[in-house]
């Protein structure tokens, strides 16, 4: 671990100011702006947690909805028996455990197996939960009654987003983060310098899955009534992939650049053209692949380095002249 640099302290302070300002929002507005901000903070946490794993490894994970639903159900099943914080912690453990199982089954093999496995994972867990509920209980839906209002959920999700960012920063500074960067650049090299690549990937996937499950657990009181199709909605997985890739996954704050505009755009589109949502998502995927393969932040960085090179060239030309 190296010492914290002055630049990092500056970024940290700026981030703290932004978070403090964001936390004041419920004092100003309790209606539309709060509700859309809950979505923004939720997806910021989800996309950043997704990027923790999928950014360095380039593995497209579609398991988000499965982890999210596992978190939601951890709260919904025992909300009458246990305190909320304990259920959130339980949800995190359940998410990590599910990620561990998926990781052990697929992450020792090539990336394609992982994508395929995660593609159907939410649907698989949904089928099992539906079947188990029908077999062992009499009710299909679950009610979650708490004293939380929208603003409490907003604050909890904001705290979660901050926690994900801090975790990402700490991982980047750790041996695990260093190992992941090498694996991302060249897995064969990583294996030859003695990194247990499967173990590193599984660990990171578990961290990512735990955070996503916590987001699901916190969101449970917001829904109030929980059914398998809404808790394990596969759309969540795809939206997270789109937003994170739109922003760019090479920086920790990259996904945030995609989340804010996309959540606002999605809100407008689903209000005015509810039937056009799949088409918009399809076009978003195609736009990312063909126009922004490294996301908005990647494109900005490209432009920035090109400008700097040009300036350096111009300065060099002046000197020789």
């Amino acid at each position: 671990m190296s010492a914290v640099s002055a630049g990092e302290i500056r970024v940290g302070l700026a981030g703290a100011v932004v978070v403090a300002l964001a936390a004041c929002l419920p004092l100003v507005d309790q209606g539309f702006y709060l509700s859309i901000s809950v979505n923004i903070v939720l997806y910021a946490a989800l996309c950043t947690a997704w990027t923790l794993f999928s950014g360095p490894t380039h593995y497209v994970s579609l398991a988000t909805a499965a982890f999210f639903g596992v978190g939601t159900y951890s709260v919904a099943l025992w909300i009458d028996q246990l305190p909320f914080p304990a259920l959130v912690a339980g949800g995190a453990l359940a998410g990590a455990a599910l990620a561990g199982v998926v990781g052990v089954a697929t992450l020792r093999l090539s990336g394609v197996y992982f994508v395929i496995f995660t593609l159907g994972l939410a649907e698989l867990v949904r089928q099992i939960v539906t079947w188990a509920q029908a077999k062992f209980t009499t009710r299909v839906g679950l009610y979650v009654f708490t004293d939380f209002t929208e603003k409490h959920i907003y604050w909890m999700l904001l705290a979660l987003a901050v926690a994900v960012f801090l975790a990402g920063w700490l991982i980047n500074r750790s041996r695990l983060g260093f190992a992941m960067r090498i694996i991302g650049n060249d897995e064969t090299v990583a294996r030859h310098v003695g990194i247990d690549t499967a173990r590193a990937k599984i660990l990171l996937f578990m961290v990512s899955g735990a955070f996503i499950a916590i987001a699901g657990a916190i969101s449970a009181p917001r829904y109030g009534y929980i059914q398998p199709p809404s808790a394990f909605n596969p759309m969540i997985s795809f939206l997270v992939v789109i937003m994170a890739l739109l922003g760019g996954t090479s920086r920790l704050w990259g996904p945030l650049v995609g989340v804010v505009p996309f959540v606002i755009a999605m809100d407008l589109i689903s209000a005015r053209f509810p039937n056009h949502m799949p088409i918009v998502m399809g076009l978003a995927f195609l736009a990312i692949v063909y126009l922004l393969p490294h996301g908005v932040t990647g494109r900005l960085e490209q432009v920035w380095t090109r400008l700097r090179n040009r300036r350096a060239l111009a300065v060099g030309a002046e000197r020789t002249a």
Partner: protein, 289 residues
Amino acid sequence: MTHIVVTGILLSGTYALIALGLTLQYGVARIMNLANGETLVAGCFVAFWLYTAFAINPIAGLLVIAPAAFAFNWAIYVVALRPLVRRARNRGQLEVDSILATFGLLFLLQGLMLLGFGGEYFSYAFLAERFVIFGSGYGLNRVVAFAAAVVIAAGLYLFLYRTRQGTAVRAVAADPNSASLVAIDVSRTAALAFALGGALTACGGALLSTFYTFNASMGVIFTMKALIIVIMGGVGDVRGAVLAALALGIAETAVASLIDPGLTLAATYGLFILVLLFRPQGIFGRQTA
């Protein structure tokens, strides 16, 4: 017991066609086509439309559906996917790019079909008669669909193993770099394989629609099943895909009739996990990655 096995085998005929389509696209053209299920659903809708609007028998409808799907998938490959193949620096890059691009196609096609047909379920009555095998009755439409699938799969086998073009396709599947050394136009062969895969999948969809209730958003589930069959059979392996389709059809039918019809995907995943843990290179595993 025989009832489960026979129902499973009848179901596996269409699964095999869909999986053969996907294995051609992934094994030869190197495109993991996650929009494959949408081609299937499009096949269902065209067969439905031909049958209800023009009273054209779905089996005869294949003569329209297969060439249309071939042309459509050829166009998709040339317009959307070939640029990605050219751009990719390595196989991993192409894999990620093609996965994301075909996700885009998946949602685009699904969105268009949802706009056109809505989210309702469709079905039509074609040969809904009783047909007796080993003393118990099955839908005649299922038997006919299975027979048609067998004929199409046999045709594909003859094409791949008895013609020059088919040999070229298999050569590209084995190694694109070496194939180009023996004067095979790899880019054109990849387009051919991709288009042929799309045609097979659409035929599978048309046959499926004769006995199955379908809707515009069910494509992903079938893509999922086809992917698992392809992995089980070994990527690009025709015999493996057929055998894996049989296993999946029987396993699904067994779980649906013995435990719960809502758990078919769990059965699929059970098989998938076993394959990943014990034979990730496929049933007839050729190479180790």
